[in-house]
């Protein structure tokens, strides 16, 4: 497996999930650094069924921290019983729109994240 040290990630989602990720990253500065975070006023946000959205950009250090993020995204998508829950993850190599109703397994979420991060088997 090839692995690089730093992966830049942008996450777009509800203010609640973005705040959760921000706190999580702030508590583990050796694994992730917050570059910026705040409300998003993208006029297209309504396409995702989100009435209010926020974004966070961070730098993730290594595959373990990426796995932590995958677990957090999976837990968020599964929690709350809301099938419209949506999170968009962007990296320099692409983007993915995670929607709760797609019913992905944690392994599938992790696999997508690794592809977006350029981690190749």
């Amino acid at each position: 497996m090839q692995l690089h040290d730093q992966i830049q990630v942008k996450i777009i989602g509800s203010p609640e999930v973005v705040e959760e990720i921000r706190s999580d990253w702030a508590a583990r500065p050796d694994q992730a650094q917050v570059v910026s975070s705040g409300p998003e006023r993208d006029i297209n946000s309504y396409r995702y069924g989100l009435t209010e959205i926020a974004t966070i950009v961070g730098i993730i250090e290594g595959v373990a921290a990426l796995g932590e993020l995958g677990k957090k995204l999976y837990d968020y998508l599964k929690g709350g019983g809301d099938d419209a829950r949506t999170i968009i993850v962007q990296t320099p190599l692409g983007r993915w729109e995670f929607v709760a109703r797609d019913d992905l397994t944690e392994a599938e979420v992790q696999e997508i994240l690794r592809k977006l991060a350029g981690v190749t088997p």
């Binding site: 090839q2 690089h4 040290d5 730093q6 992966i7 830049q8 990630v9 942008k10 777009i12 570059v35 910026s36 006023r41 993208d42 006029i43 297209n44 309504y46 396409r47 069924g49 989100l50 009435t51 209010e52 950009v57 019983g81 809301d82 099938d83 419209a84 968009i88 962007q90 990296t91 320099p92 190599l93 692409g94 983007r95 729109e97 929607v99 709760a100 109703r101 797609d102 019913d103 991060a117 350029g118 190749t120």
Partner: protein, 491 residues
């Protein structure tokens, strides 16, 4: 958890037509659309599907009513777009970006393996930041070196122009003066109101009274449906306060009048949200007007609120499109040779827009009631310009057996984006329907789709807004197939 799709269409300003969307997670919605959403449907079977859905659950009923009427909703967006000076101005700005941006972009693409996107964001970075990004990207590329990326002054100037033009588009789409705290009221809310009122009429015509109640209740009460309901709710309250039943013709006239502002003469006061705020204040004070001559109603609102007449707005808009056409016809030879194909494609697009706008304007000005009365509009669908139609499968495409694909192709459906999966399956991302939806054929569907691909590519390389666009996935894939990796600048 319920398992329905919440949005079934999207007006994409890059495509001169309509776009229905299906999520990969819900392949059954596409099957449902094929049964009840297209022009080939059997009205009795559609009605029965509605009755059965009403008995099943509110979610299922919403899905069936939405899928059965989504084309009407999307076609109304299309007609509002080609008729309104607002929609036309947005389209011309997008073509301007393509014209300027591609002159810089196309020479840059040859022989490269990596390219930063969006390009204006790259240009705005200082040397230290560019070096830091290149180092980070090299890590992502498995240690492969990211080539230096330098631009000539001319290329940089052209790319800078795209940035200015996107900023103008943003001014059209987003009005910062109509934002208060977390509540943002924007022009697209008026677009949605216009399409929603029309769709409700269609739900009534296709599925009956009970269906209208279930459909509107679902939209009015679902938090994620706010874009569709915000203006409708405000209008509904006006009539409620006056103690009379909501009049869909006058409600629709409000939405149409707001979309028909004259930006040349009235500047940003022509913004649909500003027009709505002023008109709403007037109607709150005086109560909703009774149904009457729509042209007179428009003239009264225009005079009371000191705006340019709708007729003048339409005339000036037409002149702006004609000026763009004249410019391209007179200067086609001055563009680099590699732009020749794109210039002729742009000329086709502008002439198609001008034709469709002229046709729609004539109909509208001769009988505005025929456009704003939802019943008249839906009944006379065939009189308006027909819309090329595509279906997009978001969330990774839809997986279908090759046999089904062949059956679709036999119906004349063109698989625009798709790829083989295994031995006997295909992943389909986008299909083009065999014939336009609605009446008078003025726009060639395949050329419209080709232009939409170019405009998506233009957005991918130059737009700093809405970088999470799912259509960009297809651009990334096609670039990768050509050996070019686009590297997204995230901050």
């Amino acid at each position: 958890m319920s398992a329905i799709q919440l949005d079934y269409g999207e007006f994409d300003a890059r495509f001169l037509g309509v776009n229905v969307r299906f999520h990969a997670a819900h392949p059954s919605t596409w099957t449902l659309f094929d049964e009840i959403g297209t022009e080939k449907r059997d009205p009795q079977k559609v009605f029965e599907a509605g009755r059965a859905a009403l008995k099943e659950s509110p979610e299922r009923a919403f899905e069936v009513f939405s899928v059965g009427t989504v084309l009407t909703h999307e076609v109304r967006h299309f007609h509002d777009f080609i008729l309104s000076p607002y929609g036309n101005a947005l389209f011309r700005l997008r073509l301007t970006i393509l014209l300027n941006g591609f002159q810089a972009l196309l020479p840059l693409l040859g022989g490269r393996k990596t390219i930063p996107v969006p390009l204006p964001a790259w240009l705005a970075k200082g040397d230290a930041e560019k070096a830091r990004l290149a180092e980070q990207w090299a890590g992502l590329m498995g240690g492969q070196t990211v080539e230096p990326f330098d631009l000539s002054d001319d290329e940089a100037r052209l790319i800078d122009q795209t940035r200015d033009t996107y900023s103008r588009i943003k001014d059209f789409l987003f009005n910062p003066r109509t934002v208060s705290g977390s509540v943002s009221f924007q022009p697209y809310h008026l677009w949605e109101a216009s399409a929603f009122i029309t769709q409700v009429q269609n739900v009534y015509s296709v599925f009956g009274t009970e269906a209208v109640e279930a459909f509107t209740n679902f939209i009015l009460n679902h938090p994620a449906a706010q874009p569709y309901s915000i203006v409708f709710r405000l209008l509904y309250e006006l009539w409620q306060e006056a103690g009379v039943a909501f009049d869909a013709e006058v409600g629709s006239a409000v939405a149409a009048w707001c979309l028909l502002g004259d930006f040349v003469n009235d500047g940003w006061a022509a913004c649909p949200t500003v027009r709505f705020a002023r008109l709403y204040e007037l109607l709150r004070k005086e109560g909703p007007p009774p149904r009457g001559d729509v042209g007179e109603l428009f003239r009264a609102w225009t005079e009371r609120l000191s705006y340019s007449p709708v007729e003048t707005a339409i005339e000036r808009n037409n002149a702006s499109t004609q000026r763009f056409i004249d410019h391209l016809e007179q200067n086609a030879g001055n563009y680099p040779d590699f732009m020749a194909h794109h210039v002729s494609h742009l000329l086709w697009a502008l002439k198609s827009l001008a034709r469709a706008n002229a046709h729609a304007s004539r109909l509208f000005l001769s009988n505005p009631k025929g456009y704003v009365n939802p019943y008249d509009y839906v009944q006379n669908y065939e009189a308006w310009p027909s819309a090329p139609a595509v279906a997009t499968f978001v969330g990774g495409g839809i997986l279908i057996p090759k046999q089904r694909m062949e059956a679709l192709q036999e119906q004349g459906i063109i698989i625009h984006n798709g790829k083989t999966y295994g031995e006997d399956q295909v992943i389909v991302f986008k299909v083009l329907f065999p014939k336009n939806v609605g009446g008078v054929h003025l726009i060639d569907a395949e050329l419209a789709l080709g232009l939409s691909d170019l405009l998506t590519m233009s957005d991918f390389f130059f737009s700093e807004y809405y970088r999470a666009d799912d259509e960009f996935d297809l651009v990334r894939v096609s670039l990768r197939e050509a050996g070019l990796t686009a590297l997204e600048i995230l901050t």
